[in-house]
Each structure stands twice: as structure tokens, then as C-alpha cells.
Amino acid sequence: MTYHSTGVTGAVEAPTGDNYLNHSRGIWSWMTTLDHKRIGVMYLFTVLLFFLVGGFFAMGIRLELMKLGKEVLDANTYNRFFTYHGAIMVFLVIIPAVPAALGNFILPILLGAKDVAFPRLNLASYYIFLVGATFAVAALFLRGADTGWTFYTPYSIRTNTTVILVLFGAFIAGFSSILTGLNFIVTTHKLRAPGLTWDRLPLFCWAVYATSIIQVLATPVLAITLLLLCMERILHIGIFDPALGGDPVLFQHFFWFYSHPAVYIMILPAMGIISEVIPVFSRKPIFGYKAIAYSSFGIALIAFVVWGHHMFVSGQSELANFVFSLLTMFVAVPTGVKVFSWVGTMYKGSIHYYAPMLYALGFLELFTIGGLTGVFLATLAIDVHLTGTYFVVAHFHYVMVGGTLMGLMAGLHYWFPKMTGKMYSEKSAARAFWLIIIGFNLTFFPQFILGAQGMPRRYWSYLPEFTFLNRVSSVGSWFIGLGFIYAAIYFYKAMKNGKKAGANPWGGLTLEWQTSSPPPFENFHETPVVKAWPYEYRPENITMPVNQG
């Protein structure tokens, strides 16, 4: 069947029943696969495994903070827990989750390509990531690491934990990030289907493209920084430790020069997912296509010149603070454009509430709070009081979890039928969604108040007046945990015996819906030819070919 309204031509259903899952069999065929879809799936399972590990540490942190003093962990163990939680979630979950896992699977299909530009490099990236992750996780079984995910010097030079292994792991995983970025940039430039001009490119592709540029340009700085830190720890060359003649604030500059852009590596692809999901489920063209596409680049560009806003109280000069605060304000402009445009897309639509849309709406609620509290922290004077407190913890969880993780969940539900050829239970998905979103707000909203009242972050214990809100926060974390466990169960069930999904269960107009589910080995039965914009949801074409379990 052909969707003429979308201007895409090409056969949808497989004549033979061949797909990427049954194309070849056995574990070895997966381990040596060059198929971007299989590599995407392997990334996804790896990332979800680390999400489980990172989540375990998060639960430990919240459990310990149920009461003053020791609840379950002593101070040293607690410090390791928040270090692992941060390092694993940032480097092994949030950074690779959307681009490397979902991006790998869906980007080439969205472009109408058979694969990424460099399939071997793609597989190599996966193994490099795995090696990096192994190093980092190995540290857990040795003396651990207790520096926080930021590795601030000179503490990270002096602590007797196995920081080196974690640093080395992050260093190696960084190469995977660089190579994947490079691969996606070339793929987007070179392998678009005939007729898929830049102004017809789906917004997810724009977002991943902008992200890839950041990955390629910023990650080497992290690699250099971590290497310098290793040199200082092993060879005692004075770079960052004042006792050796170094400058500890220099480390913060280097670290945030990568890690601030990294924040946008985490959020931009998730924004791309939201830009795909909202028009499909509102049966409306995306509002402000160009504004959303260009704002991704606006964000990517500004990302490189705002790192100093992490350092307003570090001892950095007043002039530097002035400039960084001013530049940071401009992050809010393209971000605002996106949020307004998503809400604008819903206007006069016909909204269907399936799980991907629920998560997209959850994203809007949480990300709006995350974004607005970012303005507080960008404001110089306000930041002086709030930085280093739970306000910051709440803010970046609203952005990272409320943004990236909600985006990931939206994408996971949206593309699950495509990846597996099966439908999940919509009822269970809605239940898990409510558990997660209520739990999330319960966990992190009180932390804004705790921070404003002055409770510092990375505190193993706290003053008695902070007890109540900490308890609320801890109870909230159980809801989040339950929600994700529940999601894991219904996804597993759906994979085993979910209802068969058709090629296009959501009535989407982008290319991935114009091939069978799961897609064949080289994605399309015939090379698709694109003749129109991907968001042509015209009023005469609003019915959704629902295929729900």
C-alpha cells in the first residue's frame, strides 16, 4: 500500500516476511552485525541495563536520606552511591540513550537510507562504548570512586579511590560518542532518499544532526581533560592541584567546556522525539517547523559559550561572570520557541492520548519547570544563593529526567511497534506513566524548596528542619521505581506475545512508517522517493489507523 497523501512511494509490506530480526540467526550474527537497527537494539539493551544500575544507586541515595544520620549507608558509601549514580546515568545512560540507541535505529530509516554511512565504524563505536563502560563499572568492584560525577580537583587527585578507572572508562566511552556523531553527520549529508531535501527533513533528524556536531566538537575536550587528570594522578605533574603548582579552577573550565554542551547532547535528541510525536498524535502539522529546526542549531551554538555559568562562585572574575550570565540567558530563547511551538501544534488538532503522547505531554510539563528554573540559575545574584544546593539537583533532574527520559520513553513507546513488530498494552503503559510522572514531581519538586532554604547537595546527612521534605522526596522515588519496573514488565510481555503491529499503527507520515514492522534487512523493499513535507496532516486525512493491543 502506498501513502500518496504523504508523497512517499514504495511498497510497505514485505513480500517474503523477511525482517531484520529473522534475517540471520544466532548470538554471533548479532555480535558481528553491521545492521544499524541491530546495533541500535544492542545499545538500547545496554543502556537500559545501566539505567537499572544507576536507578539502584538513586534508590539507595533516597533511602539513606529518609532520616538524619545513618539510615542504610555510611557517609563513605553514600558518597560512592551518588558518584556512581551521576556518572552512570550521565555517561552510560542519558548521553547514549537517544542518539546512540534510538538514533541508530531510526535515523537511517527516517532518511530513507539502507544503513549509516560507516556500518563497521558503527559497530566499533558500540564495542568502544562497552569497553569504556566495563572500565567504569570495574571500579565499583575495586575501591570505587567518591568524587561526584564532576571529578573536581584537587579532591579527585587526592582521594584514594579508583577514580582513574572511572576516568579512563569515560575517556574511552567518549570516543564512541565522537565516532557515532561523525557517522550520523555523514549519513545525514550523503544518504538521504531521493527527494528528501533539507527542508523536508524530519525534526528528529535535525535534532540528532545538531547533537552530532556537539559530540564531535566537544567530546575531545573531555578526553584531553580526563587524560590530564590521569597524568596528574599517576605521574604527579602539576596541572590542577595547587600543591603541585596547578590550578583547580582550570579543571572546572575544561570540564564544563565539555559537560555543558553535553547537557545539550542529552536534551536535543529528546526534543527531536517530542517534535515527531506531537504532530502525529495531534493530527496536525508541526507548528513552526523552521523555527524548531533552527532553534536546535541555536542551542547547539550557544552551548559552547556558556560553560562558565557552572562557576559563578568558583572564584572566576566578575567580568567573566557578567559575560557568561548574559550568554546563558539566550539559551532560554530558542528553548522557549520550541516549547511554544509544541503547544501551538496541539491548537485545533485532534489529540489522541496514546502512551507516546502522554510522555510528550509529561515532557512539556516537566521541561517547562526545568527550563524556567534554569533562568533562576542563569541570573547571577540568584545563582550565588542557589548553586550547590538541592535547587540545582531539582533543576537538572527536571531537565534530564523530565526532559531526556520522558523523551526517551515517548520515543520508546512510539517506535516500539516498529522495532519489534508488536504492540504493547496501552492500558499498562498509561498506568506506568502516571506512576512515573506523579512520583517524579513528588521526588523532585520538594528539592526546589529544600535548595531555596539552603540545604546543600551531596550531603549525607542534613539539619532536622529538612526532614519532612526529604521524606516526601524519598517516598516519591519509590513511585518512579515502581513505574519503571512496571514498564519493563509490560514491554517484556509485549515482546513475547504482543499483538502484531501493522506497518503504520499511528498513522505517521515519516518514512519509518512506510515500511513493514519490523523493517526488512535493508529497511525498505524499494528505495523510497519523497515528494512532500513529513508533517502533511491535512484535515481530510485525520483518521488514525489504530492497531491497539
Partner: protein, 336 residues
């Protein structure tokens, strides 16, 4: 028991001049955020109900609206610039300590705070300061990064080994104010607490005369009826003032071999009048000889050399403790 403002607000007590300014700025940004949150999420919820899928109802096809997109860009930009300018101006007043501020030197180390006063006293875990008078904290660390944070005064500054950073405040509420370490520093980070004890005029005079102070309540609690006990001298009564301690160190560490204190030039420049003056370096640059300059010259003399002198000074790194360094700088400051 509690001050009304403290109990009813999500913010800590307003304990300083800056806290009042800070709270107005914060409220402005907070209400603006609430407005935008209601606007965005309100519109979202309204559309969710109004435009929910009803079979047969047609959608409307439109792709963009340049006027609306212009507003999306213009209005936030204008508001953000207002917030930025206001935020910077409050920050600027946070950074400009008056020249007559009462100085206390702060040393952070894992996991306690030490405070040194002009009169030669040293306290640990509690810093005693006068009320309604600018106080400047000149801070450094003996080991790793720390942060000094006084929520009631809305100020915070990282404490960095190898250099001096400072903050200042004018406290307006007497009593004990909580201070925290806010830069992660290892095992007992959460135990690295201190109290800023703001003394009213009588208490301040008593403290300076080494009298024992009565019970000082937490700030914001009703003032205790305890009178200041004037009977016994404090056990921490200093023998020498900080400047005097510095003078002894200046001699015993051998500084006097090359540097006079009366203006005559020996191997090195005289220390008389050097503090706060502009000095010329061999590379032609002029720099102000402040705390960080003096410290750097003692620890890394090779890094900068004064014009007209040869580079012969050895490093004193590791030979002078932070406590001694503070005394030495206080002494050099006194050589006007």
C-alpha cells in the same frame, strides 16, 4: 518561637542587607516563572480537553505564523534582559566590599572551619562578627575545594586552595546563623558546618574585651534574656594581635634578611607601603599587590619578578602554614 517571616516563607530568614535585595529579585523571577508555567501548561491542558479526538471533527491545517513566532522570540528576550541586568546589579553589590569592612580570615580544611581575627584570636566552627557593620571574609583552603555558604545572608563563595577568595555582608539580625560547606570535599562534607555569630554592640564590645558571652540564640529565635557575663576572661584570650604575630613570622622566617619594613631597599623591595600599591613587573605589567599577589610571591617567587630586582628569592611553599600566611599578610598590610 519562630520569626513569622521564617516560618511562612520557603526562603531562609533575611539576615543581611543583600538578603532583602535578593528576595525581591527572586520573587520577581518566581512570579514571572509561575506566569509562564500557567501560560504554557495551562494552554496545554486546555487544548488537551478542547481538542481531544472526537470522531468526525476536522482539524485545521496551518504550518506557521511569523508574527506569533516573532513574539515567541521577542517577549522572552526582553524579559530575560531585564532579569539579567537586575541579577547583575545585585551580584555587583555582593562583590564590592566597602574598604572599611571588618576582616576575618577563614581557613577551610577537611572537615572544619578556622577563623582568624585582627586581635589575634582564632576560633573553630564559630565566627564572631559585629551587627550592622560590613564584614569581609578572606578565605582559603588547606587541602581541597570547600564552599562557604550562609543561607540567611544569601551569599556563597568557593574556598580554593592556593588562593584567596572573599565574600562580604552586613548582618542585620543578631544571633547564630547557620553556615555550610557547599563544595563537595569528601567523607564528612555534610558535617563541615559552622555558625556565624552576629553580635550586637554590647556583645561585640565584650567579645573584643575578652569577656565571656552569655548564651547566644539561633538567629530568628526570640532573644535570650541571658546577660553578658563580664566576670571571667575568655579562655581564648589572645596573647598577640594578628599583626604582631605577623611581625614575629616576618623575622623568624628570615624575610627581614632581604626586605626592610622602613622603606630602604636591600636585596628585595621594602615591604613598607607595598600592600595595595601598584607594582611594576619585569614584563612591564602593573599589578596591585593584594593578598593573592603576596601569597603567590611567597610560594612561587619565580612566576613574577618586580622590575629592578633580580630573581633570587627561594620558594617558601610548604614552610609557611595558612595560619602564618594570614598573619604575615596582615602584618604587611599594617606597614603603611
Amino acid at each position: 518561637m519562630f520569626n513569622q517571616a521564617y516560618a511562612s516563607s520557603t526562603l531562609p530568614l533575611q539576615g543581611s542587607d543583600i538578603a532583602v535585595q535578593w528576595d525581591s529579585l527572586y520573587s520577581f523571577v518566581l512570579w514571572l516563572s509561575i506566569f509562564f508555567f500557567v501560560l504554557v501548561v495551562g494552554a496545554m491542558l486546555y487544548y488537551m480537553v478542547k481538542y481531544r479526538h472526537i470522531p468526525g471533527r476536522k482539524t485545521e491545517y496551518f504550518r506557521d505564523n511569523h508574527l506569533l513566532e516573532g513574539i515567541f522570540i521577542g517577549v522572552p528576550t526582553a524579559l530575560l534582559m531585564i532579569i539579567f541586568v537586575w541579577g547583575y546589579s545585585v551580584y555587583h553589590s555582593m562583590k564590592q566590599a566597602p574598604s572599611d569592612a571588618y576582616e576575618v580570615r577563614v581557613i577551610g580544611k577537611q572537615w572544619l572551619w578556622t577563623f582568624q581575627y585582627d586581635n589575634g584570636r582564632t576560633t573553630v566552627g564559630e565566627v564572631f562578627v559585629p551587627m550592622n557593620r560590613p564584614v569581609k571574609l578572606v578565605m582559603t583552603s588547606e587541602d581541597v575545594l570547600h564552599g562557604f555558604f550562609i543561607p540567611n545572608f544569601r551569599i556563597k563563595q568557593d574556598v580554593v586552595p592556593g588562593m584567596y577568595t572573599s565574600i562580604w555582608f552586613t548582618a542585620t539580625v543578631p544571633g547564630k546563623h547557620q553556615a555550610y560547606c557547599t563544595e563537595y570535599c569528601g567523607t564528612s562534607h555534610s558535617g563541615m558546618l559552622a555558625k556565624v555569630v552576629v553580635l550586637d554592640d554590647d556583645q561585640w564590645e565584650a567579645w573584643n574585651n575578652n569577656k565571656k558571652l552569655g548564651n547566644i540564640p539561633e538567629a530568628g529565635l526570640l532573644t535570650s534574656t541571658d546577660k553578658i557575663s563580664t566576670s571571667a576572661a575568655s579562655p581564648m584570650a589572645p596573647v598577640f594581635s594578628l599583626v604582631e604575630q605577623g611581625r614575629v613570622i616576618h623575622e623568624s622566617k628570615g624575610c627581614v634578611a632581604c626586605h626592610t619594613v622602613d622603606g630602604t631597599v636591600k636585596v628585595g623591595p621594602s615591604h613598607k607601603g607595598m600592600y595595595g600599591s601598584k607594582v611594576e613587573l619585569t614584563n612591564g605589567k602593573f599589578v596591585v599587590a593584594d593578598e593573592n599577589f603576596i601569597r603567590n610571591h611567597i610560594e612561587n617567587p619565580k612566576s613574577e619578578t618586580l622590575k629592578g630586582y633580580s630573581q633570587v628569592m627561594p620558594t617558601f611553599k610548604g614552610l609557611i602554614t595558612e595560619v602564618e600566611m594570614n598573619a604575615l599578610i596582615a602584618y604587611m598590610k599594617s606597614l603603611k
